[in-house]
Subunit: 143 residues, 2 copies
Amino acid sequence: MELEAKIDWEQGLAFRAHLGGFSLPLGGEPKVEGEQSGFRPTELLLVGLAGCTGMDVISILGKMKVKVGKFHVAAAAQVAAEHPKKFLSIVVTYSFAGEGITPEPLRKAISLSEEKYCGVRASLLPGIAISHEIILNGEKIPG
Amino acid sequence: MELEAKIDWEQGLAFRAHLGGFSLPLGGEPKVEGEQSGFRPTELLLVGLAGCTGMDVISILGKMKVKVGKFHVAAAAQVAAEHPKKFLSIVVTYSFAGEGITPEPLRKAISLSEEKYCGVRASLLPGIAISHEIILNGEKIPG
């Protein structure tokens, strides 16, 4: 399968990506540029990871007939202080809200995404420690 | 250094990321969803890679006093056909336009990004074959 992305330089560290009718602004770190002109590239990698596993999980839960009311995925990373500022560890937090949701299918869906489906995760350096947390209706549940 | 991203589920495979005042839509593959509701997660990884190396290169060229008129970065990837659909290879194409630009500083800036600065690239699976091409004023030049 082929995949393409293209970005156009605007000024300073500001670029813009255009893809399939959608567009997004890219920018450097505020401390380098003075103000942030868009998403930082490393943030996009985190959004990509959260999106990839989020789509897997909601899709698997749909197949399991689990009704989810609200669903959020957060990814928090530690990045190296020195160049290249690569990812060291990432914690992915899955937050679900809805009535009648039990923990077991959530754990199963997350584990299937982690082990079998998530292409972004499978493309990352194996040395990056990726862990997860699960929140169900505001309460942290064992992963 | 800490980095965070959060996405909110909207419906189907559609999510939205909000970060530092910027927002972007995420969606699944059109063949799965019928229509594309936003950037695919794997596309965001490619945009992140292009943005990371693009910012490195334009910043290094600025320090070298190389005046660039236009600059685009494209990333084209081969992705595995089977789950997890991870990246197999990526070709990054750097296109520069402007008067009086010589190839040598372009090669130097790209090589510094590849070997020293690009945190997104350094966070990818080492098995992904990443190569580059350089276009200067519409002509491909030796990399």
